[in-house]
Point group: C2
Chain length 307, copies 2
């Protein structure tokens, strides 16, 4: 049997306080592993799934659907078998399904001799993620695939742009062991907001982009606010405001919900602050008998990669 | 009699398509002139106003109120007389009252020996403009005073940031000779918008800021859209969509209402395109028996200045 192509696709943090549905960044880990092996039997097949209960039918599987769409686009029915090794939890707000889609896209592309660039793979990975998520958005899958912090200016045309990341920026994420379904978390959001909320939030997003591009930590700190989505979702995550208070009082630049939650992220301008905050996060959940994982990371500039 | 201190305060374009209430830039001209002369009689007085009918009572005059607030702050009742020479129309959407306030702030400060920086003058000029406008915002007065393209991240704390302006950027503005009162133009705006509109518009504002910072004209062009305010105000300006069509079909990066209108601005990546578009604007209004002025300008980086 041929040796498989093995790729790693990282977790990601979407929304990033003021960038609902349009901003996300990749973490160094955790991440999913996708293995593709060529076979003589034509067509695509999922042969192994570990780390989670997922459908083997490729049409119903984010990684599988991504693979099918790329093979359809390239008009190939070469024999390919996929193993999916989930190495991060579902429903964590860390872009689990996006990582599987991103990993599938890169692995399939390498197996087929790299006919497409990473950027050209993005639309297929977005379609794949949609199978799990229902909503068409790219603020997890784009950073997971391409790395970095990414602005999706327009989701329809997938007009995306990498944002400069200042050297000292560190991330701490806590994943409390409770589950929120993205669909539910999206369903509670009000369809209308005040014009005044839009003005404030869009100015903060503009400030965040400018702060990143110019390494202005004070501006990043002032801009990392979410007055629209966070207040509507905070009650879904026990002790959210206690966690946020702990982050800000220890010097985080900002702290908000990662994606649709329940994970919570904080951005910091150095690794010691991030580590201290991570310890506080763990302690707060532990005192309330909730298990949690802490992730300390920088923003992953590479995204999905061959391992 | 002592020789007066004479300053020039430029017109400005606020809102800039996707930056309602938070983004504005200064033009090279037209602009107001403010002259301050020291006298032996204590206290502040407006002695001459040309170019428009404005109150001589400093408490009711944008320039006068700005002067009073600065003198109050500096605890001085030195004798100062002010002449206000309006050199641009009221209600044009070009920040006429903001220019008077900015001019007053700089002129008074120079007359008093420059105790304050330009940035420190901003809050007083904002207070002054409020007399005319009713609303507390700084997207005209900040660029008029400080120059450049300015993001007001937070109006309350006046946290403002200059945006990098690519070298080739040119502006064309048409001021049709019809009047819209800012208060009316603001009054028709719906207090609520859709969350989906917010997502799209904030992504475009982020894209515009990133495009400016990185001299990415394609990104600037794609981002210069206003799907919230412009559709609500366009009907107040006859032939608006014809004007906009003329700009875009001739290669403008974007075209939208300047401030609350009726002036319309277009951004271009070279001066020839801007000039051609200006000619078209003039022709369209002229064919419809509406007089108009065309302004061709680069973004004025200096703002209010001594002349």
């Amino acid at each position: 049997m041929a040796v498989g192509i093995k790729v790693f696709a990282p977790a990601s943090v979407a929304n990033v306080a003021c960038g609902f549905d349009v901003l996300g960044f990749a973490l160094e880990g955790p991440g999913d592993e996708i293995i593709i092996t060529k076979t003589n039997r034509k067509g695509f097949k999922i042969t192994k799934i570990t780390g989670g209960k997922l459908p083997y039918d490729p049409e119903k599987n984010t990684a599988g659907f991504t693979a099918l769409k790329i093979m359809e686009h390239l008009e190939t029915d070469i024999g390919l078998e996929m193993e999916i090794h989930k190495k991060m939890p579902f429903g964590s707000g860390l872009g689990s399904s996006a990582a599987s889609a991103a990993g599938a896209a890169l692995a399939i592309n390498i197996a087929l001799g790299e006919p497409l660039t990473k950027a050209e793979l993005l639309p297929f990975a977005v379609l794949g993620e949609q199978i799990a998520d229902g909503a068409y958005h790219a603020d997890n899958v784009a950073p997971s695939l391409l790395g970095g912090m990414i602005l999706i200016r327009d989701t329809k045309s997938l007009d995306f742009h990498k944002i400069y990341v200042p050297d000292g920026l560190h991330v701490v994420v806590v994943h409390p062991h409770i589950e929120i379904l993205t669909k539910d978390s999206r369903g509670i959001l009000k369809k209308e907001i005040l014009l005044s909320q839009h003005i404030k939030q869009s100015a903060n997003l503009a400030g965040l982009i400018l702060g990143m591009q110019t390494s202005n930590y004070e501006l990043i700190k002032n801009s990392l606010q979410d007055d629209i989505i966070e207040p509507q979702r905070a009650h879904l995550i026990p002790h959210f405001y206690k966690i946020k208070e702990a982050a800000l009082s220890q010097g985080a630049l900002g702290c908000s919900i990662s994606g649709a939650g329940p994970s919570i992220f904080a951005l910091c301008d150095n690794s010691f602050i991030a580590e201290n905050i991570g310890n506080s996060f763990k302690k707060i959940f532990s005192e309330n008998r909730i298990g949690s994982d802490i992730i300390l990371s920088r923003i992953n500039q590479e995204g999905t990669r061959l391992i």
